[in-house]
């Protein structure tokens, strides 16, 4: 019995270690999300701090990033599903030009604000040297998670749900 429990514990610990290996620790977690102001694709001013009081899912993506194309429609669905509970999805495109971004936004029917990123904004968020990267920011503007690379969207939705119902 004892041996079986030990085996189970080992299994759980190793599984967590393996599954978590795709997500590097970030110095931004548990710290205030770096503020920024940008114009969205429609020319409207988007200021991160104006979403204080909402849970923000901040996603860095690009049109040439295949996993991003899978995530974005899901984020759009979550935006609709959890808007009443206070979720706000914001997307930062790391494309070099906005034309392909506009096309993708139209093709995927994205309604949430999309802004163009740059090296300065990327560096403020700890460097964006691989996509996608998503930050979950709580209602107080604190980064609670940094999810790097292709991720399990069911798990991510659970985290979003947990945050909006807190």
């Amino acid at each position: 019995m004892r041996r079986r429990s030990l085996a189970l514990l080992t299994c759980v610990v190793l599984t967590i270690l393996c599954a978590g290996s795709a997500q590097a620790p970030s110095s931004l977690v548990n710290k205030p999300a770096p503020a920024f102001v940008r114009s969205d694709l429609g020319g409207r001013q988007m200021e991160l701090n104006s979403y204080r009081g909402k849970v923000v899912l901040l996603n860095f993506w690009a049109t040439w990033c295949a996993p991003c194309q899978i995530e974005l429609p899901r984020f759009e669905a979550w935006q609709k599903r959890y808007a009443a509970e206070g979720l706000q999805v914001l997307a930062v495109s790391m494309d070099d030009e906005d034309a392909p971004v506009r096309r993708t936004v139209r093709r995927l029917h994205l309604d949430f604000p999309v802004v163009m990123g740059d090296a300065k904004l990327a560096e403020a968020y700890g460097g964006v040297l691989g996509l996608p990267i998503t930050f979950l920011i709580d209602r107080n503007g604190i980064v609670v998670a940094r999810i790097k690379g292709e991720t399990d969207l069911h798990k991510l939705e659970s985290r979003v749900k947990a945050l909006v119902t807190q």
């Binding site: 190793l14 295949a66 996509l131």
Partner: protein, 161 residues
């Protein structure tokens, strides 16, 4: 098989499937996958570091074939920037930059925008160089991305344009 052994097998399975998820599920519309580059033409990051230390860039011509925003944040010293070669403009610039080079010149291309099997830029860049007759083209194998597999390892980088 005792339960500990079963658990280890399970954990290895979870770890492997998590790690390889990105490499086996490219959408049909995706550009030529990086997986099309022959294994023998891949260069490991440590190998390129050694080469750069030994010979600077005299022996290898390095091109970053991905995003400019990423290039600005960090890139391999002296690497040329072509722009994303999944797009026509990137391929045009790559052709232009490669034109003066000898056909047997060692050319190393890298991107690191996305996990290897998801990178849309390496496959088209490699194919273009081969089609142009370059015989010594290597693709830098960045399993996850440039941040994880190069910058985080402390390998040399330059910032800016």
């Amino acid at each position: 098989m005792n339960s500990l052994a079963k658990c280890i097998v399970f954990v290895l399975f979870v770890g492997l499937t998590t790690g390889t998820q990105a490499q086996f599920s490219s959408p049909a519309s995706a550009p030529l996958s990086a997986s099309t580059v022959p294994q023998a033409q891949l260069m490991q990051p440590a190998e390129l570091v050694k080469l750069l230390k030994a010979a600077g860039t005299a022996q290898a011509v390095v091109f970053q074939v991905g995003s400019f925003v990423m290039f600005q944040q960090a890139h391999i010293p002296n690497a040329g920037f072509t722009g994303p070669t999944s797009q026509q403009n990137g391929l045009i610039l790559l052709k232009k930059f490669a034109a003066p080079l000898k056909k047997d010149q060692l050319i190393v291309i890298y991107c690191g925008c996305c996990p290897w099997g998801r990178c849309p830029n390496i496959g088209p860049a490699y194919k273009q160089l081969r089609d142009l007759g370059f015989t010594n083209v290597k693709a830098l194998y960045l399993a996850n991305n440039f941040g994880d597999d190069w910058v985080s390892k402390g390998y040399p980088v330059e910032r800016g344009e």
